[in-house]
């Protein structure tokens, strides 16, 4: 009799918790993968595909699934790699030659005398930063250009060039002092 009571009690508790967990999984259901969002938020959103994935979000998904390393984003460079390492709690990796740090930020401009108005670059631009219409001159909206260079290969007349982003006194950065690293390891 007492063993029956124990079994029944345990069964009842198990059923109760089962229901509770089931309810919670429905009630507090999280749509999508929050880690992917967090990774995506750290990526530079150039959508350039230099990481070998089709854009920043696919790369974020690949990192979340453990398919890709955190050191494959050239536009993000070391800063993004360190931020990813921090977020995911993995060891920082050196940027390999294939995905080397880009020395400076660039954007593109269209030589408007040569442009024939084919719209191919407009179709290639992932952020709609090119303005123009068929047989009309095209132009880059500089403030929107991310410097992904995806518009360059489709251009049939090679009239799109890369130029460095102009550094203003406002956006200028102090260099790291080159007095050698005299700092002991923190901690």
């Amino acid at each position: 009799m007492s063993i029956l009571t124990a079994v029944l009690t345990l069964a009842l508790i198990a059923a109760l918790f089962g229901l509770l967990l089931g309810y919670a999984s429905v009630k507090f259901h999280v749509e999508g993968d929050p880690v992917v969002d967090k990774i995506d938020a750290l990526l530079p959103q150039t959508q350039c595909g230099q990481c070998t994935y089709a854009g920043c979000r696919p790369y974020a998904e690949a990192i979340a699934n453990g398919e890709a390393g955190i050191n494959q984003c050239p536009p993000g460079g070391e800063v993004t790699m360190l931020a990813l390492s921090d977020l995911l709690g993995v060891e920082p990796l050196a940027l390999d030659a294939e995905h080397a740090d880009m020395p400076e930020k660039t954007l593109v401009y269209i030589d408007e005398d040569i442009c024939i108005g084919c719209t191919l670059c407009i179709q290639a631009c992932p952020v709609d930063a090119i303005l123009g219409a068929a047989k009309q001159m095209h132009t880059i909206i500089e403030s929107e250009c991310t410097g992904c260079d995806l518009c360059i290969p489709p251009c049939p007349v090679d009239c799109i060039y890369i130029k460095p982003v102009k550094v203003e006194p406002d956006t200028w950065r102090w260099p790291l002092p080159d007095h050698g690293n005299t700092a002991p390891q923190a901690g």
Binding site: P44, V79, V127, A129, E144, V167, P169, W172, H179, P184
Partner: protein
């Protein structure tokens, strides 16, 4: 109230430094000669650059607006003298980056002819808002060096109640003496400006804080205040400790209050303005004159006749140094600002800007001593007036741990250079903090840009999907329509087939065959061979 009755407090850290001010205070302020060419950078303040109002070839009068403020945190610039605008281009400006910035170049005509000025004799008849507007139109920015637009700073908002207005005449940095000389020569204007700012922010009382190593300035101000019997304005002599002229440090010394880390002095009922700014406010409101000149200290062992000069904004530094006796033969380094916080300039062919308080020429070249490893002595933490931990900041900044460096309150660092000065290993600590600050700002800009790009990318993706869906939908509808038509046609055929010809094509083929048949039949009648005729007709029948 007597000068020494006020109780004063101390801020953490700080240094007693040799002042080196006497060499530039022996002569009264000299007015610089009117230069032939003035180069006025469009942006000389914190905030957005103004919108250009002149074109190349325009003739401008002294005090005429060259740009108008483009947003709330912005300031206009004015023509410092009359003449012709000969160039508007990216030109070198005094900035640690040595980058060019958009500047207006005026070739002066020597007449120095003013625009029509509208002096205001009774400012108290105007509302504070109207006076603030005058300050804004005059292009006044903080002249202590921060160059934050004054009109924005004195707009403390309806919630904040300003108890104390502090006029900062501490001038704690060694070598610089422009505020000292200004207070000695323009004490009346300083006091007038104090009164105006006090009225604008409705401050209960006003303290003019001057370091006790400037007795002449204190006496001059005190004389004016006694003469005018002003009861709410008081001159306070404060101990000479660097950097007591820092805003937060000065507030601490005078009121014992501390400004919250991410707050403003107005949060604790205090507003701080530089003495030079007070004079500029006086000129703007009482005389109607915009900010077109300032007092610059030309000093250092590398200059033959150190002095203070009143120079028009846009005057070339080389001209001022020439008028101060020129360079010493051993002159090696030109610094804008003081020895603690200034930065080295690569050339003297740069214009004086609103924030340029001092040109310091040193005979010793750039310090080349190799930095030694940190020995964790902690001298920097003792000296830090912001109560930070410079060692921790240094470690994290040099290893690019930008999150940690902010956890140690990097942005409370005022870059006063005390830690540099005391470091026995000669580590350029402030450079590391500046590096970290600009890196963090850059990351923030990148983040904003990437968020923007993400939104645009997502929107484009959504648009492409929608377009594809719409296209598919259209195609599907077209197909449906076609299928329907076919069905309808077929139905029509069925119903029509009983009465008329089924299909015109078939009818044509049949008609053609009929004709062939007839032809062949005609041939047959000509031929005598009957069997072949029957065979061929059989053939035709089977073909049918």
């Amino acid at each position: 109230m007597s000068l020494n009755s006020r109780h004063l407090w101390h801020f953490h850290g700080g240094l007693k430094l040799p002042s080196n001010k006497a060499i530039s205070t022996s002569k009264p302020i000299t007015k610089a000669l009117l230069p032939k060419r003035l180069v006025i950078p469009v942006r000389q303040h914190i905030g957005e650059a103004g919108k250009l109002q002149v074109e190349v070839g325009d003739y401008v009068l002294k005090g005429q607006v060259l740009t108008r403020a483009s947003s709330y945190v912005s300031a206009p610039i004015h023509a410092p003298s009359s003449g012709k605008v000969v160039e508007i281009d990216e030109l070198p400006a005094p900035h640690p980056s040595a980058l060019n910035t958009l500047s207006v170049v005026i070739e002066t005509d020597g007449e120095d002819k003013w625009i029509d000025l509208t002096p205001l004799n009774h400012p108290n008849t105007k509302s504070p808002t109207e006076l603030r507007q005058l300050i804004r139109q005059a292009g006044i920015v903080g002249l202590g060096g921060a160059t934050f637009p004054t009109a924005v700073k004195v707009n403390v908002g309806p919630q904040a109640e300003i108890e104390t207005l502090i006029i900062n005449g501490a001038e704690c940095e060694p070598s610089i003496s422009c505020d000292d000389m200004l207070m000695r020569s323009y004490a009346r204007e300083v006091v007038s400006g104090c009164g105006l700012i006090q009225y604008i922010v409705s401050a209960k009382h006003c303290l003019i804080a001057v370091e006790d190593n400037k007795p002449e300035a204190i006496a001059a101000l005190h004389a004016i205040i006694t003469e005018k019997a002003l009861h709410t304005i008081e001159v306070v002599a404060i101990p000479t400790i660097y950097p007591t002229g820092g805003e937060k440090q000065l507030i601490k010394v005078l009121t014992h209050k501390e400004v919250p880390s991410d707050g403003f002095p107005s949060d604790i009922g205090v507003l701080v303005q530089n003495v030079g700014t007070a004079v500029a406010v006086h000129k703007a409101i009482r005389l109607g004159e915009p900010l077109i000149s300032r007092i610059v200290t030309i000093t250092g062992e590398g200059v033959l006749q150190p002095q203070n000069m009143e120079a028009l904004i846009g005057t070339s530094m080389s001209e001022l140094i020439e008028q101060s006796g020129g360079y010493h033969k051993d002159a090696a380094k030109l610094i804008m600002g003081g020895p603690m916080m200034g930065f080295t300039l690569q050339t003297d062919h740069l214009p004086i800007t609103k924030g340029c308080n001092c040109l310091l020429v040193e005979n010793t070249a750039e310090q080349t001593a190799e930095a030694m490893p940190c020995i964790r002595c902690g001298a920097c933490a003792t000296a830090c007036p912001a109560q930070l931990l410079p060692q921790q900041l240094y470690w994290h900044a040099s290893s690019k741990n930008f999150d940690q460096v902010q956890d140690y309150h990097l942005f409370d660092c005022i870059e006063c250079g005390c830690c540099n000065y005391v470091c026995p290993s000669q580590i350029p600590l402030v450079q590391y903090y500046r590096f970290a600050k600009t890196e963090i700002w850059n990351m923030e800009r990148d983040r904003i840009k990437s968020d923007h790009a993400r939104i645009r990318h997502d929107f484009r993706q959504e648009r492409l999907d929608r377009e594809k869906k719409e296209r598919d939908e259209k195609l599907r509808k077209k197909k449906e329509l076609l299928a329907k038509k076919k069905l309808a046609d077929a139905a029509a055929k069925e119903s029509d087939g009983k009465t008329t010809e089924i299909d015109p094509k078939k009818a044509a083929i049949e008609a053609a065959m009929q004709r062939v048949k007839e032809k062949k039949a005609a041939q047959q009648t000509e031929k005598t061979d009957a069997t072949s005729a029957t065979e061929s007709s059989d053939e035709q029948n089977t073909q049918k």
